[in-house]
Amino acid sequence: MMPHDETMILETPFHSRCLALCEINLWEDWKGYRSAAAYTSVEQEYFAVRSNTGVFDISPMIKYRFTGPDAGAYLNRLVTRDISKIAVDRVAYTVWCDDNGQVMDDGTIFHLAENDYRLCAYARCLDWLMWSAEGFDVTIVDETADVAALAVQGPTSCAVFKDMGFDGIEHLKPFGIARYPFKGAEVMISRTGFTGDLGYEIWIDPTFAEPFWDDLFAAGKLRGIRAIGSAALDMLRTETGFLQAGIDFIPAEEAIRTGRSRSPFELGLGWLVSFDKPVFNGRKALLKEKQEGSRYAFVYLDVEGNKPAEHAFIYSGSKEVGTVTTAAWCPTAKTNVAFAQVDAQYGKVGQKLVAEIYYERELKWTRVMAKCTVIEGAVFNPPRKRQTPAPDF
């Protein structure tokens, strides 16, 4: 990999393969890496994941490694979830907060071995991580460039892996980790992802990135494997109710204006907060919020009609009560979904609201006041996402 001072944008270990497949050259910058927004057409890529297998290069994702006798205790103080409950070879989704209980980021923690963890994050936060290390015996390394990673997602993904010779992969439970030899190296496979479907993420030494990609695509050829870009991923994550940092909330350290950051409760992520563990960042503020109530609620809306409620204001009667952060027509669930931040009292499931949607057709703008209902969560939540052994398609 070229260092940043020699190039304006870095390439991932899979770049040669991505480049070969990226027919429309639609690239974007993901934390300093060239990353495909789409390879051919967004819809095809979306349906690859829902019907076959889609492969998304997640190498640019920020990855930190924590080792040392206090690694577990350190992470337990850093994040809101109870890390002591994550066994070796298990993964957990979590958020972490500043002292004011405002979400700095969300991500996943991989318990790789005793006193050995990986944290995957949206934003770089080494400064905060190092400050947090005061008083702990823990070593922190940014291993973003040292690990190549792919998300391999979709109903046929397990079958593709079996064809690659990863015997028993079907027995891997959601959020579990397995390891297999690959051409003399080791590939780590976790049953995790950002699509809400049956799927995996693979983690490998960058030297073996290209051979792995080649074997994967060879094995998946007859199962409709296809590289996907971030645009398709965005539809997939919307359909399954996953928040995106920087879009659905502003990381606390990036928020400049007071009051623009959000607590886990205000993002519907209260289930990630464990008060039954030692002190963690934000505990005091979150306890207070739990007792006194939150300012906002994060809601999933089923929006009438088929016009995505992008950037829409949300009303209760004539009162403006919130705004939409993410919206999309979800093709598989056949639902018009929006994520919105609304004043706390309008967050209950079943609450009737109205979205003010503007859309344009050939320079003609139309305003729709679309009725919407607060729903429980993901509109796409198939059994295969959880089934173990994973079904064969």
Partner: protein, 525 residues
């Protein structure tokens, strides 16, 4: 002693002067209070110790000049044994040629003092005391928070604001201007005499890691001069050394029903998730209490007693970045007889003597310390207390106590015996430039570097003031934002030491204010 049958409402960790003051006020409020002190003597940095056979000296602070009169009278310290051997002493700025300058209140004595300087000095003192009065409005109460509209805090802010407004246009803009520049520039604006400028600049930075050209030195000077508001027209020598202040405060505490145990080092403040439950002593004993008040400095409290892993990252970061690196040493000298300082009578040798002949001398002394080296020509503040208090040394003999600027805490190569020996020698050499027969009279000496001060008085970095007294670390920013009203991020844990508003010096107000805050919070404390 710890009364095992008693449930303590409050444990005060550390029997320094502020800890004892805080404990006494809390006991007077009807609480069961226990003070635990690691050392065998009480008073903290207000201490007297025998450093050579039959020679005793105030081993940290050596002048009393800021003790708050309200605290002194409410604790009845005179009744409990506090006596002054000498008070309202002059400051004599030593000159190598013997043409010294004596500062006696508003008066200047000595050769080569211009009429302009005499007038300017009176005007300068007048202005400084006006500034002190404004500040005094905020000293004996908690520092206000800026954002929360608390009524008490608004009153304090209003008093501060009103006080500033009442200074009048000129003094107000002067205060705003002066507070942000440095003592060097202020001296240059006001005076001609080098000894005068040198002596005042030394007062602005004693105990700190600053030189005359450092920002914050003007505040340092105003802070030092708060003593005048408290009735001190110059430093005082305490009968029995500064340890007698600690003794009187301990007696006051005991008389109010406070239980005190010495030689009882606390190794840990016990915390149940986010609330202090008591302490664990180094010998393993556990004592529980509803509240724990730490007289230890903020860094020692959080780094060692609480543990940074038990607080949130933001607070840990504040603790870490708080500036408190000692740059001041103490030299104690046992003398066979009174040395002869060129041009000084015995009566004059009993005054406060300073070696700061010019501001550039002090600045040059400061320079090496920035790079981990000690001053080769240090600035000094000298006391010969045995002139006033004959009990400190055998008959006819004397002790000298010297505050030496600068001796950095993190000396390159460390404070080895060799480095300490070399530094002692050069300080004595420098003293001998002013008192040529000094070396012949030396019986013994003891050097306390910031590292020794850290070990002996359990002050992180050996910084007397428990944290630099500078504009970024005063009022609502002392010890650091978010822990500014004696409470901390840990429920039931309070701070009462010099690391808190209003700051260091044997003043007693941090302890007083902490107690008042705890009492005010009542059951919600």
């Amino acid at each position: 002693m710890i009364n095992v049958d008693k449930h303590y409402d409050v444990i005060v960790v550390g029997g320094g002067h502020n800890g004892l003051v805080c404990a006494t006020y809390l006991a007077k409020d009807g609480r069961n209070v226990l003070v635990l002190e690691a050392n065998d003597a009480l008073g903290g940095a207000s201490a007297t110790a025998e450093f050579s056979d039959q020679f005793s000296v105030s081993s940290c602070a050596h002048w009393l000049f800021q003790l708050n009169p309200k605290v002194a009278s409410e604790l009845d310290l005179t009744k409990h044994g506090l006596a002054l051997a000498a008070e309202n002493l002059c400051t004599i700025a030593l000159a190598e040629d013997g043409n010294h300058l004596t500062i006696d209140g508003d008066k200047l004595e000595g050769e080569n003092i211009s009429e302009e300087d005499r007038k300017a000095f009176v005007a300068f003192n007048h202005q400084i005391s006006k500034f002190c009065k404004v500040l005094a409005a905020a000293f004996n109460r908690r520092a206000p928070k800026l954002v929360e509209g608390n009524f008490t805090d608004r009153i304090t802010l209003a008093k501060l604001g009103f006080g500033m407004k009442m200074l009048g246009k000129e003094d107000m803009s002067d205060l705003m201007r002066l507070a942000l520049i440095n003592i060097y520039d202020v001296m240059e604006e006001n005076f001609e005499n080098d000894l005068l400028k040198g002596a005042i600049s030394l007062d602005s930075l004693l105990g700190s890691h600053m030189g005359p050209r450092s920002p914050n030195t003007v505040y340092g000077y105003i802070y030092r001069r708060m003593g005048a508001i408290f009735g001190f027209q110059g430093p005082a020598v305490v009968q029995g050394g500064m340890g007698a202040v600690g003794k009187a405060m301990a007696a006051a505490a005991a008389a109010s029903g406070v239980d005190i145990e010495v030689d009882a080092a606390v190794s840990k403040i016990n915390i149940d998730v986010d609330r202090a439950t008591g302490v664990t002593l180094r010998d393993g004993r556990v004592v529980n209490a509803s509240l724990v008040v730490s007289n230890a400095d903020p860094k020692t409290t959080f780094n060692n007693l609480v543990g940074l892993s038990n607080i949130e990252t933001g607070v840990a970061r504040r603790v870490k970045t708080m500036r408190m690196k000692g740059d001041t040493a103490k030299l104690h000298i046992a003398l066979d007889g009174l040395p002869n300082f060129t041009g000084l009578t015995e009566q004059q040798m009993g005054q406060r003597l300073v070696i700061a002949p010019t501001m550039n001398y002090v600045e040059n002394a400061f320079n090496p310390s920035k790079y981990g080296e000690y001053s080769t020509e240090p600035a000094m503040d000298i006391s010969i207390p045995s002139i006033h208090d004959t009990n400190l040394a055998p008959s006819g003999k004397h002790v000298m106590s010297v505050i030496v600027q600068y001796a950095p805490y993190d000396l390159t190569g460390g404070w080895t015996e060799e480095n300490k020996g070399a530094f002692t020698e050069l300080v004595i050499d420098r003293l001998a430039d002013f008192a040529p027969d000094l070396k012949d009279k030396i019986v013994a000496s003891e050097l306390l570097t910031p590292v020794d001060i850290e070990q002996r008085f359990h002050i992180h970095g050996g910084h007397w003031h428990h944290g630099e007294i500078s504009l970024d670390q005063i009022l609502m920013m002392r010890p650091f934002p978010g822990a500014s009203q004696y409470g901390t991020a840990v429920g039931g844990l309070y701070l009462c030491g010099a690391g808190n508003h209003p700051g260091g010096g044997v003043m007693g107000l941090a302890g007083h204010n902490a107690a008042k805050e705890i009492i005010k919070r009542g059951t919600s404390a």
